[in-house]
């Protein structure tokens, strides 16, 4: 089961989640990383859930069309949309305070 290390506003939150977990789905049912992970539409349209991957990016699926459309150049800086990611391996990510 993947360990998720989530950074925001200088704080670090860590938990182990089940395989094939989507962090926005978890936040949507008020489980870790709730209430820290910001999200809104849950459909890859608003980019509020954008996070920069610090470690484990190599285990993620390729960037999809919604991420390309929403994130543009930020993809090169390591940003992904959390709502588009199902996690099966350890990951460390940070979310900016401002969307």
């Amino acid at each position: 089961m993947p360990t998720v290390v989530f950074h925001k506003g200088g704080q670090t939150y860590t938990d182990v989640v089940k395989d094939n977990t989507n962090l926005v789905v978890r936040a949507g049912i008020k489980q870790f990383p709730f209430p820290h992970l910001r999200y809104e539409c849950g459909m890859g349209k608003c980019a509020k859930c954008a996070c920069r991957i610090i470690a484990g990016a190599e285990h993620l699926p390729p960037v999809n069309w919604k991420e390309k459309k929403q994130l543009g150049d930020r993809i090169d800086q390591g940003y992904r949309l959390a709502c588009q990611l199902w996690l099966n391996r350890d990951i460390e990510l940070v979310q900016d305070l401002e969307a």
């Binding site: 989507n22 926005v24 789905v25 949507g28 049912i29 008020k30 809104e40 539409c41 849950g42 459909m43 890859g44 349209k45 608003c46 069309w65 919604k66 709502c83 588009q84």
Partner: protein, 264 residues
């Protein structure tokens, strides 16, 4: 049904009420597994229409008819939840919040989900007017829609969440996960045209999980748990019925069951 081999066959029948009374209260994990199994047995993935879809055998006309029907089943989903929300006791604050969040996301959290369905329908060759016209839904679709309204208005609210959200909505990600790649690869739709399906993989997963949380938390008696299991089964049967009718109403003259690997 419980079978006691020591009894004559005619005695080996316990009416459903007695079966419920004889069941035991399940913990959350056991209950979740039981709910998942109740849905799995009648999954709409097994219907000829779904199989033909997954195998890339449907025409754009078939998919147009699907969209014209599907609109009338999923279009009122926030309405179903609205009736249910109003009947949920005010002490169930988190359950009500979850229902409200589902309604918000369905309608105005991002793009309205039905608008994305219409975008797909138009890509298939039909029109917004045809999709929104209730005269274009089949009697079976009307039955499914009516059942959803009846459950939302009449069932115990927790049982209704089990039927509508766990039994119906939570099935969607597994169905669309199977169907969406096919829409791109075999039918040649663009990413934008099939966005309705993409978003449902994420949003219905959230919605379905919220449904599970409500039911696992509040179905706290044997009777409630058994009623939730039963309505999940019925919900899955209703969806299977609806999907099967799509095949018989619009597809069977052109694609026979043996072509789908099914017995005629």
């Amino acid at each position: 049904m419980f079978i006691n081999p020591g009894l004559p066959q005619a005695w080996n029948f316990f009416p459903p009420d007695l079966e419920r009374a004889m069941a035991e209260l399940m913990n959350r994990d056991e209950f979740r597994t039981a709910l998942e199994n109740a849905i799995k047995g009648k999954s709409a993935n097994a219907s000829p229409f779904s199989i033909a879809w997954a195998e890339g055998k449907l025409s754009r006309e078939h998919l147009s008819r699907w969209a014209e029907n599907h609109y009338h089943y999923v279009g009122p989903f926030a309405d179903y939840l609205g009736y249910l929300y109003a009947r949920t006791p005010d002490t169930y604050t988190e359950a009500k919040d979850f229902l409200l969040a589902n309604m918000y996301e369905e309608e105005i959290g991002g793009d309205r989900h039905t608008d994305l369905l219409i975008r797909f329908a138009e890509a298939c060759g039909t029109t917004r007017e045809r999709v929104t016209n209730p005269d274009n839904m089949s009697p079976t679709t009307r039955a499914l829609q009516s059942w959803c309204y009846a459950v939302a208005m009449r069932e115990d609210p927790i049982v209704a969440v089990a039927g509508l959200v766990v039994g119906l909505e939570s099935q969607v990600p597994s169905i669309y996960r199977k169907q969406t790649p096919t829409l791109r690869e075999k039918y040649g739709f663009t990413d934008e045209e099939v966005e309705f399906f993409d978003l449902h993989i994420v949003s219905d997963e959230i919605h379905g999980e919220r449904g599970y949380q409500i039911v696992l938390e509040h179905a706290n008696t044997v009777d409630l748990q058994q009623r939730c299991l039963k309505i999940c089964e019925i919900g899955a049967q209703m969806r299977l019925l609806y999907t099967t009718a799509l095949y018989t109403d619009y597809v069977q003259d052109e694609i026979k069951l043996p072509e789908l690997g099914l017995a005629a």
